[in-house]
Structure formats: structure tokens, C-alpha cells
Amino acid sequence: MLIKDGKAIYSPVSEEFKEGLKWENKLYAEGLLDKEVFTQDDTMRSAKFQNPDAPIVGFTYQWTPDAVFGKWSDQYVTIPPITGPDGKRYTIGNPIGMSLNRNELLITTSSKYPEVAARWADQFYTNEASIQNFWGAIGTVIKKNDDSTYTLMDPPAGTSADAWYWDQSLRDFGPKYVSPSFEQKIVLNPESGDGLKLQLDKLGSEYVTEPFPNVMYTSEEFEELPTLTTDIDGYVNTMRSQFISKGGIDEGWEDYVKQLNKMGLEKLIKIRTDAYSRYMSVK
């Protein structure tokens, strides 16, 4: 699901998606895509990335190089999103650069003192607590400097910065908020971890498609949704891998769309569109 010109669209039935598949099919046929791309598991994939004798992967869509390529990470550079067949560049991501999530902290109904729990939870939203629960404790991961700026320490040898932060903090989860003025005080190393990500982000940020936001569903909608998405997303993945590995995109496209409609694609789009317009009309 994407937002295009203010409307929610289901991208796997779009023309752009079809053209993308054709291109990937061409790469696959020419042997430029790994033949095992659909069958290998994560360990096999990372074994290829970190192949001991020589780097064997030429191009991949990935996280920061140090988190993926091990000892070969200095051989890889990040490039901006490539131009598609229609002359435009696309990449998935989040244009506002913020991840807004729900249900990060819950208070149980059996709590005797919910107000105390809420007061405790409030502490998570202070600046210093937030950065500690994103990277790690001050003194262990974060260094508080005398001029009241904050810098990140280097990860222990052999660990990637990312893996280290995940070990040390709640990272992507849990409540947090950092005020813009406080953000100025955080000094990140542009050559590793999150600082590097911010640098890399500049390469692609202007091409980011608008993602479908984290909307709220009614309980009736939510009852339908998981069955629809399990079936439809599963079918899209299956057909995607078949189209790429075996081709036949032009001939098979109509049946593919028909099958998706039979599985309730229209219902899925309606649920998502309704939820999206409710989400957008909230003031």
C-alpha cells in the first residue's frame, strides 16, 4: 500500500510494479540476479555477503555496509536509487523521517495505581531517557561531554555499531521523544552506525514514495483484515517470484489481477481507503 497524490493505492497491481517485474525478470534471465534469491535463508545469504576468500556479491539492497559485509565492508559504497523504466527514481522509506508507532507502552487493567505507572511512563519522554533507550546507557554507549553535547562511543571490536545498539537499548521499541533543540546537542559520527545512516539517507530521501500511514481500524475491519492480507500478500509474493524467475508477465498479468480480485483485493483496498480517510480527517 502506498499513498500517491493523496490517494491510497495498492502498488502490486500498478503499471510501475509490472515494469519493475519485467526488469527484474530480465536481470534474472541474464544471470545477474542470484538464482537462489527466493530459496535461500538468511544464513545462506549472509554467508555469501561475508564469503571468506573474496567478496562475491556485486550489488544488493541493504543496510549500512558494516552491518552486512563484515570484513569486506570497506569495498562497498551506497548509491542513490536507480532510474526506473519510466525515467523516475523510487525508493521506499519514510519522507518525514520519523516513525510514529502505537501501543509502545501499555498499562494493564489490573494495575492498582495506574496514575503512578503513567507518571513513571512519562519519564521515558524526557530527552536524556529517550536517547538512552535508543542507543544505550550514558557511560556505556553514550558519552556526555562537558559542553553538554552527547557523542556515541565506538562499538567493541568485531561488533557493528547497529548490533551493539540493539544489545544495549530498546532501540526501535518503547516510548521516546527528543525535542528539536535537544537534537542539536547530539553529535553523531557520520562514518558509522546512525550517523552514517543519516548521511546515506540524503542520497535517496527526495525519491521516497509516501508510505501508507499507521492508521486505526475498527474492530469489524480488523476481523477481515488479517485473512485478506495473509492470502493476498502471500499470493503477490508467490507470483512475484514466479514472474521474476520464469517470466510470462504480460501474458499472466490479467489472470494475476483477476485472482487478486477474487481473493478480495477490492475489499482490502476499501478497508484501507476508509481507514486512511478517517486518519486524514482527524484534526
Binding site: 537462489e36 485473512t227 502471500g234
Partner: protein
């Protein structure tokens, strides 16, 4: 029935007499009740709009809503078909351990026989995860053993793990390889219990090896084989979840999505507890009916049955 005090007191007397045996039985009965019968209460959620906050008792009734939803779903015929194909295919391989047992039984009981037996049942102890990992590595068309063998002859290896058509074969034959030795143990045990005087009498009558297998070994194995076969049929729709799930990928999913993996995806990954319970309950009912049917057939035809 009229109450019969004498009969009753005799029964009670029997229990009193064999109290030791009943004491030994007691833990097993308690375990069965606790772990097999008590959880059945949870089956109720298949007929309810289950919400964890309301609990099993508090959730509103939904009737057969979820069963209808499954019967009308796109996955219904696909998952049933895939489950049946895989399980009937594995059922056909049922005689293989029997053949192995007959073969081993013909060997002279020496060190080679013990060695052979150990080797053949060793793979049984490989865990499913490791087993599927091994298969992925061995069958990899680019770096695997199979891929290398094909490239020796300048050919490209078929992608066994990524082929929908070959999925059931890969699944069943790797299973046979892994478990044939283990499954044959019970038959070898049954064969070693055959009275040697039968063989001696057969030898006196001039029977050949093949005759002995045909007229002594196979009939002696029949009761064991039938019992195991009935149990296998009872689990016909219950193809092992782990191995199929681990072997699944986007390329073979059209023939590898079976009932249990679908239940897992719907129920645990998408939190549709009632829907997935309904699917699983349906699965269990079918299995139960099959079990009873096969048992009845075998009772009529061969006088071997579970009860």
C-alpha cells in the same frame, strides 16, 4: 442394567487385589486428563468470536461462522489438496521400512549387520531444522553438492528447493531417507520374535529363502504393519508442520502451503485465533473419521484392528 452387588464387589475386589498396577497406571491417567482432555475445552473458541481480553468463557458465540469462512476461502481447496498429496505420497512409502527389515533379517547376525543397522537409523536423530538446512545446502544449484555434480558434466542442476512440482517428492524422499532405519526397528523386533521352529520346518520341506519370506516373515509382520498403518492413516491430514514450514519459500508455496502452516500463519502470526482453531478442528475431525473408517475396513478384511 440392574445393579449387581456381587458383580460389583468382584470388580472392586479385583482392583483391590491389583492395587499396585492401578497405582502405576494412575500418573498416566492424570497426565492424559490434564494434557489431552482438559485443553480440549479451548476448542470452544472455534465457535466463538474469541478475544483474549474476554477469555474463553466470556467471548460471544459465533456459531459456524469461521467454518463457513474457511470453506469459502481461496485457501480451502489449495491447502487440502497440498496436504493430501503430501500425506498420501508418504503413505505409499509405508512398505519401505518393512522391506528394509526383511533385508536386515536375512543378514547373518554379525558385526556388519549391527553396523548397517546403526548407520541406517542414525539420520533419525538429526533435528528437523538441521535436516532442512542440510537439504538447502546440498541441493543448492550453485554451491551445493548436487549443483557441483551437475556442473561436472556441464549441466545446470534443477532447483529442487524452489520447485513447486518437485516439493512433495523432495519432502517425502528426504523423510524416507531420514526415518527408514528407525521405522524398520519395530519390524526387525517383530521378526526376531518369530519361532525358529517355523523356519526349520520350512527348510525340511524344501522352502527357499524367498518362500520363507513370503510365507513366514510377511504374515508374521502383518499385525504390526496393519496397526501402524491405521495409526498413519489417522494422521493423514496432520502432515508435520515443522519440516514443511522450514522448506517453504515463495517459489514452492503453491504446493507447500498445507493446513497446519496456514493455521500457523492465520492463527499465530495474524492473531485470528478463532478462525485458525476452526480450521484445525476441521482437520482433526477429518482425521478422526479416517481413523475409524480404516479401522473398520481392516477389521472386516484382516481381523487386525486397534479396538
Amino acid at each position: 442394567m440392574k445393579s449387581d452387588p456381587i458383580h460389583f464387589s468382584r470388580k472392586f475386589g479385583q482392583i483391590k487385589q491389583n492395587w499396585g498396577l492401578y497405582t502405576l497406571l494412575f500418573p498416566a491417567v492424570v497426565l492424559t486428563l490434564l494434557f489431552a482432555y482438559k485443553p480440549m475445552y479451548g476448542v470452544l473458541i472455534a465457535f466463538k468470536d474469541y478475544s483474549p481480553a474476554l477469555g474463553i468463557g466470556g467471548s460471544p458465540w459465533a456459531g459456524f461462522k469461521y467454518f463457513e469462512k474457511f470453506f469459502n476461502s481461496y485457501q480451502f481447496s489449495a491447502t487440502i489438496k497440498n496436504t493430501l498429496v503430501i500425506s498420501v505420497y508418504s503413505l505409499i512409502t509405508f512398505p519401505i521400512p518393512i522391506m528394509l527389515a526383511l533385508m536386515v533379517n536375512q543378514m547373518r547376525p554379525n558385526r556388519f549387520r549391527r553396523f548397517f543397522q546403526t548407520i541406517s537409523y542414525m539420520p533419525h536423530f538429526i533435528s528437523t531444522v538441521v535436516m532442512v538446512g542440510l537439504m538447502m545446502i546440498l541441493f543448492s544449484p550453485s554451491t551445493g553438492l548436487l549443483g557441483n555434480m551437475y556442473s561436472l558434466f556441464g549441466k545446470e542442476a534443477p532447483d529442487l528447493m524452489g520447485s513447486a512440482g518437485l516439493f512433495s517428492s523432495v519432502y517425502v524422499w528426504s523423510d524416507v531417507w531420514q526415518h527408514v532405519g528407525w521405522d524398520s526397528i519395530i519390524f526387525i523386533a517383530a521378526l526376531s520374535a518369530v519361532d525358529p521352529s517355523l523356519y526349520e520346518a520350512a527348510t525340511v520341506d524344501g522352502a527357499s529363502r524367498m518362500h520363507k519370506i513370503r510365507y513366514i516373515d510377511i504374515p508374521m509382520l502383518m499385525p504390526t504393519a496393519i496397526t501402524l498403518l491405521i495409526l498413519r492413516v489417522g494422521g493423514l491430514l496432520g502432515v508435520g508442520f515443522e519440516k514443511v514450514y522450514l522448506m517453504q519459500n515463495d517459489l514452492n508455496i503453491t504446493s507447500s502451503e498445507i493446513l497446519s502452516t496456514y493455521v500457523y500463519k492465520i492463527g499465530l502470526l495474524s492473531s485470528q485465533y478463532s478462525f485458525s482453531s476452526a480450521i484445525n478442528l476441521f482437520n482433526t475431525v477429518i482425521n478422526f473419521i479416517l481413523l475409524i473408517m480404516v479401522n473398520q475396513i481392516s477389521k472386516k478384511l484382516s481381523e487386525n484392528s486397534l479396538w
